[in-house]
Each structure stands twice: as C-alpha cells, then as structure tokens.
Symmetry: C2
Subunit: 587 residues, 2 copies
C-alpha cells in the first residue's frame, strides 16, 4: 500500500479554477505561456523559518494526472451552458506534459515570499493546478515545521513520538502528520498504517482499557502460571513474591494483573501505562514489582508512560523510585529474600550478570497528555526526568496555527511580468520569474536569501551584491557572500542533492541554490535525486538547521531572516506597481 490519497485527482480543485480554464479556453488563451509562484507570506507559529514539504506527493500527482470520463460528465453537469467542444478539449488535450515545476529540494528551510514552487507552462494547465498544489504543500510544510520546532526545543537527545492519529483532521490529516512530523525530526509514530506505507519506526504499548479489563488477580489466565525467560517458576508466583518483598500489597489488583499479563505477552518490550488508578500509589509500585520479576527472569523491562497529572513531579517521583529499587537490589536485600525463599532456578551469578549492565534507574519514562511547546518549555524550567515525549493533538493539528497561508499567484504571462496589488501591502506579489539564492557569510552561516530575475546572473562568492528590501526603499545592504555554489538550474546534477554518503553533500548544503529544477514531467529526466527517501530528507532538515543562527530558530520572539531582491527585481517590482495602481480621485 502506498502513501497516496485517493482524493488527489484533477477535480480536487475549486470551481473557479475550472471556470477560469473555461474562460481561457473560450478566448483561445489556454496555451499562453505563464508562470505562477506558490509561496507564503508569514512563517507559521510566530516563528521565523519554515520547512518546505509535500514535493514528492506533488510529483506523484502530476505524473499520474488523468482526467476520467466521470470527471468530464460531472463538469458537464456543473457548467451546463459551456461550449461542448470545451469538454472534448479538457479530456483529450489538457495535459501536464508541458508544465515545468521548479522547487527547492523537499525539506529545505524556506522563508516568506520565496517561491516554494514556480509552475511554468500553458496557462490553463497551470491555473487548474492551483488549488491542489496549495493543498499538497500547505499541511505537509506546516506539520513538518511544527515537528522541527519541537525537535529544536527538546534537543537531539530526547525521543519524540507522534501520537496524533485519533485527533488528526481526518485519516489523511493523520497519515500526513505521521510522515511529515518524522521528516521534521520526530523519531517515530504510533500509526500502524503510516509505518506500513512509509517505513516510519513505530511505537506503542497499551491503553487504560487494557488495565481496566482486569478487575483482579483472578482475571489472570493460565499463561500466568507458565515460567518466563530463564526462570522455571511460574511468572505469577515470581511477581507475588516480589509484591510482598516490596511491600506493595495495597496497590490495585486489576492493574497488577494487567501488568503481569502484558509482561507475559511482551517480555522484551515491557513498557506500562501507570496512571490508571494512581501513579504514585499503584502504577509505579505495580510496575516495579513486575519489572523486578522480569529482571529476575533474565529479561529487561523498558519503562513507564505517564498520561495525566503533574508530569514534572511524577517523572521525578518515578525516577527516584527506580533508583531506590537499584539500591535495594544492590544491597542484596531482595536477592537474599528471593534466595531464602528458594523459588528461583537461576544462580546468584546470573543475577549478578544482569545487574551489572541493567539499572532500574535507566528505565525509560515516556510522557504524553496534551503536550505542546508551552508545556514542554515549562517542564524544562521545572526540571523533569522524562526521556521521551509522545505528542498528539498539538503536533498533528498544529493547534497554535492550523494552516500555512500559502498562495499561488501569476507572476508572468507570455514573457511579461504580472503583479497583483492589494489594499494590504503584504499581499502585493513580486512579479516575474525568479531564482533564489542563499548567501553564506564567513562562518558559513546563512546571511540572507536573495531573489533575482531568471535572466540575471547568479551572485558569486566574494563578489559584492546589492540586496534590497522588497518594499522599503532605503533598506538595502551590500553583501559579499563567502559561499555561493555554482548554479546549474537546468540540471538535476547530484551535486545539488544531499545524499548521505555523497562526497559533495557538504558543499551542496552550504552553497546550492534553494530553487531546484524539476524536469518536464514527460521527460526521462527524473533522476533518482528527485525522489529521496524520507530518512534522507529528515537528515537534510536537521543538517540545515545546524547552520542557521540560533536567534532565527528560537521559539519565542525570533529574529527575522532577511529575504531580499536584486536591484533589478526591486526596480521592476516598483515600476509595475506604480503603473498598475490607479490614482484615487478624492472629492
């Protein structure tokens, strides 16, 4: 099964695209050569960077683009007055073979106004694609950026898992969230189907229902009377002895039964949800009883999951209890106890071996329960003992900003640049077909991004270039970049790819243009470089983020990264702007 949504088809579009296609066709302009930019105006989450994602889905869609008879019949229904010839043309001649998409490599760090896609080709085809391309870029980029922010916040050493399937906006919202949060830096998901379709590592244990399905120890079935691991004593018996030894008689019996049953099923991956009744009074003690029993059978328990309550306090509480158990075990008190009772088959030395490289202290503590950037920052401030965060709702629905406001604007037609004005200055588009470069300083830190017209020369390392603010005339700077890689836009040369193990990977990351050429879809030019694995893209995201200044990446009040225009582009923008603006006549 593939990661591909069945709704993605030519009619996943707004009616007005179809109306416009009709109007273009009706006036004979359907094949006019046009260029559209897909871009956003503002970084999400009050941040100052965005990760571009969704490209491989777009390329798949474009490759398999097909208008069916069902589509045509429906169009006839909704455009009852249209010329019948139109539908024949739509079915037979509206193809994407002449459409070219320029885009950054998937996973590239991008900024406002930079074209995430530049779509060039016949007017009608490029127009029809608007809505579906926006849909396919918007959410993947948003959730990938969200995930990257969590990764920056938690640092490289915490494990981050996506747990959002149940709360996502529909099945596809969930699948996209799993894939693109992994791309943005998460370590895995709970979503089985996302793992099947996209090879993402998968994690999960049990829910409260599993615990509440046991009301007492009498609910334990036969298999509890079988021994486990290298022990020959029934596992239930081992646990009962340890319950007594650890003075845990007052914990919830159903919960203990559930843990025992779970240990019997998953002796290698024993991780328990401990908050069903009371984390402190029941969950942690029961968990330790069963964990100690596993260790005594030569097995290694994994850890606990906290899903409610004060996570800072409870995680520290759990860690303390883990350490205390180590101390008890080391003091041989328990070992002595168990020997005395003579119920274990293994030798003292075996216990010794296990204890040498197993410590309860190192058990994993997983936390979930409506985590978001604010609660994670607060946990950091309070101090906590959590090793792994399971993040659901806030990650997958991008709660603090659930949509990236991408737009798709015409920038050129038949060689002539076009502008879209607006009452709101930030809605004015930058006309013309543009290339975009990232200029690096001496420390190989990105200084700014520069857009130039496709006809202009590329900026060169060591050569001074004037960079201008798009709208504020007196905001400008000379930049002499230390690094700008040679630009070969018309190529899919591997030098522009970050393939792990590829010797030029470093060079590419530091200096390549962020706009990357994608060959006409009809051509064979799709090199394997265009499709990189999810794992490669994920690594690419993390490597890029290392280069940016921290103040640009920080979660709260970050510094904006500059996106500037060449002097030519600035002049062209402003002269078009003046020409297109009607002069108000106040009276």
């Amino acid at each position: 099964m593939e990661f591909h949504n069945n709704f993605v088809c030519p009619l996943l579009t707004d009616l007005y695209e179809v109306s416009m296609v009709y109007a273009y066709w009706k006036s004979g302009r359907q094949n006019n050569i046009s260029a559209f930019d897909l871009f956003f105006r503002k970084n999400p989450f009050r941040g100052e960077f965005t990760i571009f994602a969704g490209l491989s889905q777009i390329l798949k869609f474009m490759e398999t683009f097909k208008v069916t008879v069902e589509h045509i019949n429906f169009l006839k229904q909704i455009l009852p007055n249209a010329d019948p010839e139109f539908f024949i043309w739509f079915k037979e001649e509206l193809k994407l073979k002449d459409v070219i998409v320029y885009a950054p490599i998937e996973g590239t760090v991008v900024f406002p106004r930079e074209p995430l896609l530049r779509v060039e080709g016949p007017l009608a085809a490029c127009q029809l694609l608007e809505t579906v391309l926006l849909n396919l870029v918007n959410f993947p980029s948003l959730v990938c950026t969200n995930a990257a922010r969590y990764r920056l916040l938690c640092g490289p050493n915490k494990q981050l898992l996506e747990f959002g399937l149940r709360r996502a906006q529909g099945p596809d919202g969930a699948m996209s969230a799993s894939v693109y949060s992994f791309m943005g830096g998460f370590d895995g998901t709970s979503n089985v189907l996302a793992s099947l379709t996209s090879g993402i590592p998968i994690y999960g244990t049990h829910a409260h229902a599993f615990i509440t399905s046991f009301s007492g120890l009498s609910d334990l079935e036969q298999h509890a009377d079988e021994p486990l691991g290298n022990s020959s004593v029934p596992f239930r018996e081992v646990c009962m002895r340890n319950r007594q030894a650890l003075s845990c008689e007052y914990t919830n019996d159903g919960e203990l039964a559930a843990f025992i049953s779970y240990a019997l099923c998953f002796p290698q991956t024993f991780l328990c949800l401990v908050d069903t009744y009371s984390t402190e009074e029941s969950g942690i003690p029961n968990f330790l009883v069963v964990s100690l029993s596993l260790v005594q059978c030569g097995l290694r328990p994994v850890g606990v999951r906290l899903d409610s309550g004060d996570l800072a306090y409870l995680s520290k509480f759990a860690r303390t209890k883990f350490k205390e158990l180590d101390e008890k075990v080391i003091s041989r008190y328990l070992f002595w106890l168990t020997q005395k009772q003579a119920v274990y088959s293994f030798h003292a030395t075996q216990v010794g071996i296990i204890l040498d490289d197993f410590k309860f202290e190192n058990l994993k503590i997983v936390a979930s329960n409506d985590l978001n950037e604010t609660t994670l920052s607060s946990l950091e401030l309070q101090g906590h003992a959590i090793d792994c965060f399971g993040i659901g709702t806030n990650l997958v629905t991008c709660q603090s900003q659930p949509a990236l406001g991408c737009v798709y604007k015409m920038v050129e037609i038949e060689g002539s640049p076009r502008i879209k004005l607006s009452q709101e200055i930030e809605k004015v588009t930058i006309p013309g077909r543009k290339k975009c470069y990232r200029l690096f300083g001496k420390e190989r830190v990105p200084l700014l991004d520069l857009m130039v017209h496709v006809s202009e020369d590329e900026p060169k390392a060591g050569h001074r270039v004037l960079c201008r603010h798009p709208f504020i005339e007196n905001k400008r700077a000379f930049v002499s970049p230390a690094l700008v890689a040679s630009v070969r836009l018309e190529s899919t040369c591997p030098a522009y790819c970050l393939c792990p193990g590829h010797s030029s990977a470093r060079l590419c990351l530091e200096g390549r243009p962020i706009q990357k050429f994608y060959a006409p879809l009809s051509a064979v030019a799709y090199s394997s470089c265009n499709y990189r694995t999810l794992y490669e893209i994920r690594q690419y995201v993390q490597e890029q983020l290392k280069y940016f200044r921290e103040d640009i990446l920080r979660p709260v009040n970050p510094t904006p990264y500059k996106v500037s225009l060449s002097d030519d582009l600035f002049t062209s923008l402003h002269s078009l702007w003046m020409a297109a603006s009607p002069i108000a006549d106040l009276c």
Copy 2:
C-alpha cells in the same frame, strides 16, 4: 466516485491497539464481551453544544472491514516475537460480525460525557476499533459544529460558502470539511470533488490570476467582437460606450478586459472579484461598466466578491454605487445616451422590461478573506452590506480549536462495570452501559439530558425523575418532563428518524432517545433509516437547534446544558470510584 478515503482500513490504528489485541488473544480473553463508550469531555470553541457527525463513514468502514494479506505480513514484521497462531486468528477470525454500535442519529446535538458511540462485542474487536473510530468521529463532529456556529451567528438569510480546500489539513481534511460544514448548515462549497462525491451545491468565479492574465484591452480575443444576449452590437463595443458614459476611463484596462472576457464566457453567472488593483477606483467601476452592458443585452449580472481591505466599508461602498447606477438608469440618462449613440438593437420597451425586475441594488456582495467568528461579529456591529460569506481557513481547520478531544473508554466487561480513574477529576469515566434521554419541558424546550443504566426504566412524560450531577453530590434536581417519547432501543423503527415529509418527524425530534440502535453488522436490519441523505441530516441539525434555549447556543459565554445521571447510575459510579481508588499513605 465515492466519499470514502482509501486510508480507512483495519491498520489505520495505533500500535498499542494491536499490542492489546495480542495480549487479549494470548490470555484467551479476545471474546470476552465488552462495552466501550466514545465521548468527549468538553464542547469545542468555548461553546456549550456539539453536533455528532461521521456516523455514515463509520458504518461504511465497519461494513467493509477486511484484513488483507499485506496487513498480516506487516503485523508479522512489527510483532516479530508474537505467537504465529495469532496472525492466523487475526486474519481469519477477527471479524466485526458480533460488534454492535449504538449511536445517536448523525447530526444530533450532543453534550459532554454522553456516549456518541457505545461499542459492544468481543473485547479484541472492540479494542482494535478505538483509534479509527475516534479519528472518524473527531473531525467531522468538530467541523460540523463549527459550521453550525457560523450559521447561528449569521442567521438563516445569509449565504454561507465553504472555501477551504487550499488551506485544509490534507485532501481528506478538505473533503471532510466540505461535507460536514454543509451538514452543519453551510449552503455550498468551492470544492469540485466534494460536490461530485457528495452532491453539495458548488460555487465559484475567478481568482486574481485571471485578472492579472490581462494587461490591457488589446488582450481581448476575437470573441469580444461578438454580440451577446439580445444585442446585435459587439459586446466589447457596448462596454466601451458604457465606460465612457459612466466616466470610468481611469480604471485598470487589464481588469476591464478580464471582466469583459469573463462576461462573454459566463453571461448568466457574472460575478467578479473586484479587489485586484483597487476596489473603489477600479474594481467596482469596471464591474458596473460590464454589468450595465449585460443588462442592456438582456442579461442579469450576479455580483461582486471582495477579498481584501475593509469589508464593512467596501461592501457599503459597493452597495451605494449599485444604487447610484439604478438611479442613473432610471433617470434614463444612460438610456438616452445609448439611444442617441444608436448602437443597440433592442427597443426602449425591452430596456423597460429588464429594469422592471432587475435592480443593480440587489446585486450580490460576496466577502471572503480570512473570516472567522470574531470578524463576522465585528462586521455585524459595524454594519455591512454583504449577502454571502465565503469562509475558508477558519472553518475548515477549526482554528480556534482544531481537535475535538474524543476518548474511547471501556465501561463494562463480562457484565461488570469498569471505571478509569485519573488525577484529574474530569477524566474519570462513568462506568456501565448507559442509555441517554433528552427531557423536554412544557414549552418543548430541552431541559436536560439524563443517562440511565441500560437495565433501568426509561423516564416517562409527566413522571418525576431524580437527576444528579455526575460528581457533585448535592447538585440534583427532580424533573417532570412534559415530553419523553416511548423508547424502543432494539428497533430501527422509522418513528425515530427525521425523514423530511415523514408525518411523525416532529414527534421524533421532540421526544426520541438520542441513543439509536444500529443492528449487528451481519444482520439485514440496516433499514434505509440508518443512511439518511446529507440534505436530510443538514435539515435535522437546523430543526433541533431551533428548540434549544438561545443562551445555550450563543457564541460567547454560553450557559452550560446539564447532562445528569440517574440516582442508580450515580450510586454505582461513586461506589466503584471508592473501591478502585487506592488510599494514599502519606509519610
């Protein structure tokens, strides 16, 4: 093409469901008879009601539930240590034929803690369904509720259109948003595919790109030189004369060309986006030039769309200009002008006929541009002249709360009720299998909802019943409902359906139990009543909302609606709670 997402399959689930299914199977408990409630704890959007949606998708999924060889092969990969017999059982014997789902009719107004689904049957099957059922209820109910709130806010006479495809969370997020916002009270969508799959009315005109694709009047193609409607004069010529007559020579030429071209393609549905260059100085004047020309050709223009700027001001500005044109036309000034120039073929009487039942004043004003509840309320306060709102991002991503926090909790197993405690009191579940009734007062206004255990008698009209707050002992009330319809839970009797045109529809709405029985999936008992059309459900939503007190439905600081327990259920909840709570041992 059907409205059905290809990702909806048995493995669209969290790994922990599979782990638990394995643990149940391993301990021989997979067929224990269990019951789970799916419910939410808090109404969304700081509101006090929710619309239940997603049921037909759930029933479709359950009917077509099929574990494939690919699924099994993947499960073997992710559970490498599991007993091989498990996979045979999973493929061959894990069926839904014995699973029964109780649910309210789709579109029912529901409240916190009420079971939206009660799922009964073999433990393993019921457990496996958890995640996918949550996913399928969560977003549909959320977006349907969001739409219903917009409808309440705007009243029944404004047209509300869903324009969110491009900003939705993935293709399925978009499709769901189109369907469920229509269910909640919207009038249509821009999404072509949603209209194809679900029959929703579709709307749309053109984008800024269409306007900017014209740079001047010379871009008008041949067909502008053809006459339109009942005129024999080239349409371009008619427009040019009117441009002069209305003194609009300074407007943007490209925009005027675009409007003329669009009118030629869509003479019956002429609605223009007027903010590309300047709504006041160019868009509205150009629109009026072309509109007047259409009218003079015997056609009826439709209106304008505003997509930026001050919508209150601009809509009033537009309305004023529309009225002014009526006055000019009535004063016959323009009529005289056109006659004098002798370019029109039609007679004075024809113009008279058109003017008799067409007024520019009544042209439709559509507004879009990031509308949400706050901006709509603000528009109402300022006064505006908008007839139709196109709502995108805020509607489809449910920006102010992008997830409904539904949960799925075990409430009974093998006849014995189960509770899930929590450090947080609102996370404690209400144990046991429950029925839920809506009790109406004398004015046929819903007083409160009452949950009773399935074994209890139903409340009866005119009989006093004690209703208790679930957690606060001294909060209770006697209620003597004026109306409680007779309850036949084990039936799919049409008396419980709101089928438009059905004579008992009124009665059903007023008195039926909100829990409705859905037959075992294997049975033939699926009456047509279980699947109602989207249009019927949409009407059902609006009819119910009429009955609730306004203060419960209002958008800001609404009054909570009471959901109470029978005395028996209260007692059972609290005795289980005490029994399951471990006593802390402070020291």
